[in-house]
Symmetry: C2
Subunit: 481 residues, 2 copies
């Protein structure tokens, strides 16, 4: 039955029911279907999920012109582009196009062509292998139900904040106009990316951070370099501050942000980017013995722990393993394979490190690119995380600007790279690159980390001259001494 023809019927049975039609849910359904299982997606919002409409796609559509302009300005012969301002309406229109104007027809067509059913409405578990949509339509799953409902931005209980109708990541990526003054609360990826984008589009931006720096989960130099460049772009950064109260007197009017220091900041919008919560508060977890609103505890095959019969999966943000679209899709590939193997009665070993049914990369090789200027790209363990995990490590740092390919790429190139080596196995545990053009370089490290390629063999992986990737040679030379 094709997606658009899905009709109401009592107790419709599927092999696999997927709650949530974001990239993760779509991939679970696709994998199951490709393995010969019937699959249905239940979605109450837009098919395509957060990523397509309010995260990766629109944010990168806003950020790419910023990066491209910054890079052109760093090249001799193009300095004049420094004086060409970004065409803001063109950038926003482009962003709108990349979100398909917040319509999901294209995604629905894809489901249709892929042979995956779609049920629009709010799905809730109603006991084992049973999902009720909008309180009336009942779906049953022969093999598995996968909860792929993702996460939402948390608005902390600051007095007056909710009433001030703050921006969350959804508003920051979909806003139709440039606020004159924008306060961004939070120094994680959303905070720094949106500060970068809206500053370049013309806002005066103040970035408020509770801790002492930006991008706290990454190597410290990443936050330092981004701090430096945001300052140069004219972003006001205040670290070590808490928002005590927020007031917006009139809808559409200015917002006053009171800090614990007693300072007040007046702005036109406030973006809250301080954390995420799982969208599991209203999916019927209590009907299967789990706690509504909790992150789902899963094994490496993405199966939820403690559910009798092992038919429930939690894939993507909901399991809190790695809140990234690509990692959710990866989990979906693994979960889809595990579901179909179990459906066929094939025994699988979910604890088999790097096996076909174990999302091992979630623990050892999660890549992430932050599309700021400079870009930040990291994979695997930071030095701190590796030490905490008990590895005996060596940390190698390198100034990326010292590489010919970098200095050719941009005048006044600034960047830094770190490689974390496991001294016992002589493999790379993690790598971080900061600088222009490192976003595509990251995958080399991801292959090295996930592939556990010995340092000795990496010595034979020759970086092409003169590219930025020659930083690898410098890192390896430094390690080998």
């Amino acid at each position: 039955m094709a997606a658009t023809e899905a009709t109401k019927a009592a107790d419709e049975a599927y092999d696999v029911i997927v709650l949530g039609a974001g990239p993760t849910g779509e991939n679970v359904a696709d994998r199951a279907h490709a393995a010969g299982l019937s699959a249905v997606l239940v979605e109450s919002e837009l098919v395509g999920g957060e990523c397509s409409y309010w995260a990766c796609m629109p944010s990168k559509a806003l950020l790419r012109p910023v990066t491209a302009r910054a890079e052109a300005r760093r090249v001799p012969g193009l300095k004049d582009t420094a004086d060409v301002p970004l065409d803001v309406p063109a950038v926003l229109a482009h962003r709108d196009e990349f979100t398909s104007y917040w319509k999901d027809d294209g995604q629905v067509r894809w489901l249709d062509s892929a042979g995956i059913d779609l049920v629009r409405g709010h799905g809730r578990l109603a006991g084992p292998r049973r999902v009720v949509v909008d309180g009336e339509r009942v779906l049953t799953a022969r093999h598995a139900v996968a909860v792929c409902t993702g996460s939402r931005a948390v608005v902390p209980p600051v007095p007056g904040l909710a009433e001030a109708r703050p921006w969350t990541s959804r508003d920051a990526t979909s806003a139709k106009a440039v606020p004159g003054r924008l306060v961004v609360v939070g120094g994680g990826v959303v905070g720094v990316e949106m500060a970068t984008a809206w500053r370049a589009l013309g806002s005066s931006v103040t970035l408020l951070v509770r801790g002492d720096g930006l991008l706290p989960r990454m190597e410290p130099f990443a936050g330092h370099l981004v701090t430096e460049s945001l300052a140069e772009a004219g972003v006001f950064l205040r670290t070590g501050v808490e928002v005590r109260e927020v007031r917006r007197e009139a809808p559409g009017g200015p917002v006053t942000v009171l800090l614990d220091s007693g300072d007040e900041i007046i702005a036109d919008e406030i973006l809250i980017a301080t954390g995420r919560a799982p969208r599991t508060d209203d999916v019927g977890l209590e009907t299967v013995g789990l706690t509504p609103g909790s992150w789902l505890d899963v094994d490496d095959s993405l199966r939820v722990s403690g559910v009798t019969g092992g038919w429930l999966y939690g894939v993507g943000d909901v399991n809190h393993r790695a809140l990234l679209t690509h990692q959710g899709k990866y989990q979906a590939r693994i979960a889809g394979a595990a579901i179909s193997a179990r459906a066929r009665g094939v025994p699988i070993l979910e604890s088999d490190r790097w096996g076909a049914h174990a999302a091992t990369a979630d623990r050892l090789a999660v890549p992430q690119v932050v599309f700021t200027d400079p870009e930040v790209a990291s994979v695997g363990l930071t030095a701190a995380a590796a030490e905490q995990a008990g590895y005996r490590i060596q940390v190698i740092d390198q100034d990326v600007a010292a590489v010919a390919g970098a200095s050719l790429y941009a005048d006044g190139y600034r960047g830094r790279a770190r490689m974390v080596v496991d001294l016992d196995r002589e493999v790379v545990l993690g790598a971080t690159f900061v600088g222009s053009g490192v976003g595509e370089l990251l995958h080399s490290a991801t292959v090295a980390v996930a592939g556990e390629v010995p340092i000795e063999r990496l010595w034979h992986a020759v970086p092409s001259y003169p590219t930025i990737s020659e930083v690898w040679l410098r890192l390896l030379e430094a390690y080998r001494g």
Copy 2:
């Protein structure tokens, strides 16, 4: 003894003598010195070699502004940069700066600090382990002599060509003014890169190619995509043509190029980029039983075959294994390690695949980036080369533009990727990427190919979303079916 203090003396003895102070020679000397051996470089031209003054550095300094401008033009909000012409004097001045104004003081200072001696002059072998510089100064080598004299452009014996004083790669990378009309002969890397650069700097360019397409050693689609973009840039391409005669009536005057078709092309300069010859014609090969002017036949430790005592090495272009700066430097690292191991009497196995003393990547994992627009990046074996070598292969092609990261990177992105898989071992034998921004992506494939990472494990190397590197996921999905 420091470089600048090197003085004349009869029969000066070193552990290692290196002929040619390009990047390859410098690295051989550096590795030997780091291993505790004394080393001397003999150089008759500039220390730093072809790459620093007449190849990689100046060509990329000319090309980077072209690419950066092209990329800015493909981003919404920056279309106005389409109307900002390249500032030609600024680009040329930048190129001059990157070649250090064709002075080698910086490189000599580096030798000095590294503790490597330099003898300026023309070095020739004079029997085993003996080098005579400029016919008078005699150097002897306790352990090894390495010939790292590189290659030069070949000017074919076309009537009138030599007399017309054509450009070779040296002139094309160091020219002080933009020729109004430029004829480029040759569709390899030098030909397409210099056609790209000079066209963007304002020349009318005609590219003449003997064969039926560009970049003939790479996957065919690479040449097709570059052909398409050169045409759009306004380069006239003529394939299947031979230059029959060249005439330049007066120095500085126009040059007339006669084709075998009978057509005549009149231009201001003609660049010959049809091939390279080893600079071994005057290094005394005949004194050790070898043929002057020949490419040196070496084993995987870079030791020249058939020389009694095994003291002679041929590293870099001279051995014709891979005429690329980074590959010469790689060979230098391997050769330096082999020389020092042998000097210590440590037995080495030069045939040990991927071992510390075998330049295995020369045969299996040579990377190359062509800095055209779109960029072309390849590593390892092409489908044709893999088949010819007897591998049982599967070829996977993918439209790079179908990847979200690519469409976000540039409007109207055009690109293509190919992965060549060894079906017996399920590893990647080669990969080619064409498109904007793929230059840094290449190293991921280089790590996969040199690391022989199984496809099964590459499945866990998650590309960060939304980057162009997600093309890996598409390639792997297509392979796994």
